[in-house]
């Protein structure tokens, strides 16, 4: 990075943070710290909901997902518009009517304390672990940009986020998120335009899409009914609806965002803003990854985008086997490159047979190159367990650092940090709020004053930040960050959603029935996760359905037992 990059990076980050501190300087009350000032307009809510979900992982890892697997990942968002309509129509009015701080307060009112605590515990466990993954993403950026040890960057960036969140609270999160999102969008649009600009001369729009399609990168919709296939239209529409319903409707990090709205109207419009924007946004981020893939068909990519693996190769020049992989990969890439140039010429000349033959040759060379990459990856993981490849997460940052001009690099690194700060702050804020309101104030210190609760919230926020850092130190073990976050959520969200579905719609079911049903359903999901290799998008649907059905069954059973007991007594 150059001096210009540092000026852009530090200027944008400090400017936004300083504005947040200045704007919220008078906020000292518990209500404002937890929910904001309850005057937030729909556009700010919409951006805040978007920024909370769109962490640094979204902007760092999703282009890598597009680079490796194409557009298919967009199907995970097919359930989002439906889920947000249900939340706007049903969930949001319920939460606002009871004027709750957290979604789990509603469970306590509707059922009992133990069910409220169960809902809180499910949220805290999965969001606490998920927070670790979102801290990991900006650490990758730091480690790659400055060549610092990854553990050091995880701890340092994690501590920065903790201080930022503890100082600001919910109001600061909402106030700064819109500006952070502006930096993020400016960075992503600039990157998109520059990728298009850097594609070879003579490669038209349709040529680019034909090339990407030939490599199966534009398969956005797959109507397969195979439940083992991870991303299909059906898993996205059905499973994705439940996943998104649970995330936006029961995860406190999101509920807290729209509960701060000035009115029901503002909250609803904020959610509808996301229902409209989210699929196009994810599509363009994935398409950015696909365009980077096309770019690297004409430019030599590294054997591994993950710099730690490249550093290993550089540090071991005598390791002939690994260097042979690198040479072989480059040679095959050159072959594929030449074939693609022949394909382009034949395509422009209208020679279909020659074009098809050249493209087939390019595909073969590309596949052989991928085989070499896999072999090299296996060899490296046998040599050192710490050099496991999570290459997808490094594709975009490597492209930025090596291909984009100075100033833009600083803007994009600022975008990653903006995304990390905004989503991380919202998560930690929600974790701290929920621990205080649902555990501390409801069990340990019922007579806590608002001032005492405010202090407790700040301590709990810091505690969850440290838990997230500890988990982030092990995040290199996951295959791909954007998938890992969704897999983690899918395991817990179904049962959380089940609790709320029973609460909203099945009025005759009581606390004990839903509590035991939720525990059994969660155990079932764990069992399925380890034994049944189906797409993770189905777990929220299965978890929710199991919780609801078991609740109805158990309620009937408890009722029958109670009636039998009454008859025996009389």
């Amino acid at each position: 990075m150059s001096a210009l990059d540092f000026v852009v990076l530090i200027g944008s980050m400090l400017g936004i943070a300083a504005y947040g501190v200045w704007h919220t300087r008078g906020n000292r009350g518990l209500n404002t710290y937890l929910k904001g000032d309850s005057k937030t307009a729909w556009f700010a809510i919409g951006l805040s909901v978007m920024a909370t979900q769109a962490s640094a992982i979204t902007f760092l890892s999703t282009p890598g997902q597009g680079y490796l697997d194409g557009l298919g990942f967009v199907q995970i968002y097919f359930g989002l518009p439906i889920a947000l309509i249900i939340i706007a129509a049903v969930f949001l009015p319920m939460f606002r009517r009871l004027n709750v701080y957290t979604a789990y307060e509603y469970l306590g009112r509707r059922f009992d304390t133990k069910t409220r605590l169960l809902g809180t515990a499910l949220f805290l466990v999965q969001r606490g672990l998920g927070a670790g993954l979102t801290i990991y993403a900006p650490s990758i950026v730091l480690a790659t940009v400055f060549a610092w040890p990854l553990d050091l960057t995880i701890i340092s960036s994690g501590l920065v986020v903790i201080v930022y969140t503890v100082m600001g609270g919910s109001s600061a999160v909402t106030v700064t998120q819109k500006y952070q999102l502006a930096v993020i969008f400016a960075g992503m649009v600039t990157a998109f335009c520059l990728v298009v600009f850097k594609l070879p001369a003579g490669l038209s729009f349709t040529d680019t899409f034909a090339l990407a399609g030939g490599f199966q990168k534009l398969n956005a919709v797959d109507f397969s009914t195979d439940v083992h296939q991870r991303y299909t239209f059906w898993s996205g529409l059905l499973g994705g609806t439940f996943l998104m319903l649970a995330y936006f409707g029961t995860d406190q990090s999101q509920v807290q965002r729209y509960l701060g709205g000035a009115s029901l109207r503002e909250g609803r419009l904020g959610l509808m803003f996301n229902a409209i924007c989210k699929i196009p946004m994810q599509f363009f981020i994935l398409l950015l990854g696909v365009l980077i893939f096309v770019f690297y068909q004409f430019e030599q990519p590294p054997l591994f985008f993950n710099a730690t693996l490249s550093h290993y190769l550089a540090a071991h020049p005598s390791d002939e086997r690994l260097h042979a992989y690198e040479t072989g990969y480059q040679s095959l890439h050159d072959q594929a490159n030449q074939q693609l140039k022949d394909w382009l010429k034949a395509r422009h000349d209208g020679d279909r047979a020659a074009a098809a033959a050249a493209f087939a040759g390019a595909l073969t060379a590309h596949q052989q190159g991928e085989n070499i990459r896999e072999e090299a990856e296996k060899s490296l993981s046998q040599i050192s367990a710490t050099t496991t490849a999570t290459d997808a997460d490094y594709v975009f940052i490597t492209f930025i650092l090596h291909q984009l001009p100075h100033g833009v690099i600083g803007l994009l690194v600022a975008a990653f940090f903006g995304a990390a700060l905004s989503s991380k702050a919202a998560e930690l804020n929600a974790l701290g709020s929920s621990t205080t309101v649902d555990f501390y104030r409801s069990i340990i210190k019922r007579d806590a004053t608002d001032q005492h609760s405010l202090l407790a919230t700040k301590w709990f926020t810091a505690f969850w930040g440290l838990v997230a850092i500890a988990f982030a130190l092990y995040a290199h073990l996951v295959e791909n960050l954007i998938q890992a976050v969704n897999i983690l959520g899918s395991i817990f969200y179904g049962v959380m959603l089940g609790l709320f579905v029973v609460a909203f719609f099945i009025r005759h079911v009581g606390g004990s029935a839903v509590f035991w049903s939720a525990l059994v359903s969660q155990a079932l999901i764990f069992f399925l996760y380890f034994t049944l290799p189906i797409s993770y998008l189905w777990y929220p649907l299965i978890g929710c359905a199991a919780c609801v059905i078991l609740s109805i069954f158990l309620q009937s059973f408890f009722k029958a037992v109670a009636e039998t007991g009454n008859r025996n007594r009389t």
Binding site: F78, P81, A220, V221
Partner: protein, 51 residues
């Protein structure tokens, strides 16, 4: 949990969307569904054209 009378009076006013062309929430939800359907059709067309 806090009393909710003030909130309820605000919420009763929120039945209207305040948007110029979409006066009821059902119209807003319908617009979202139509937008979603159009995107699905575009993505299906993209998949069919280039794979």
């Amino acid at each position: 949990m806090k009393p909710s009378t003030a909130n309820e009076s605000v919420e009763s006013e929120a039945d209207e969307t305040g948007l110029p062309w979409l006066r009821t929430w059902n119209q807003v939800y319908l617009l979202v569904i139509i937008h979603f359907a159009i995107w699905i059709l575009l993505l299906v067309a993209l998949t069919d054209c280039f794979s």
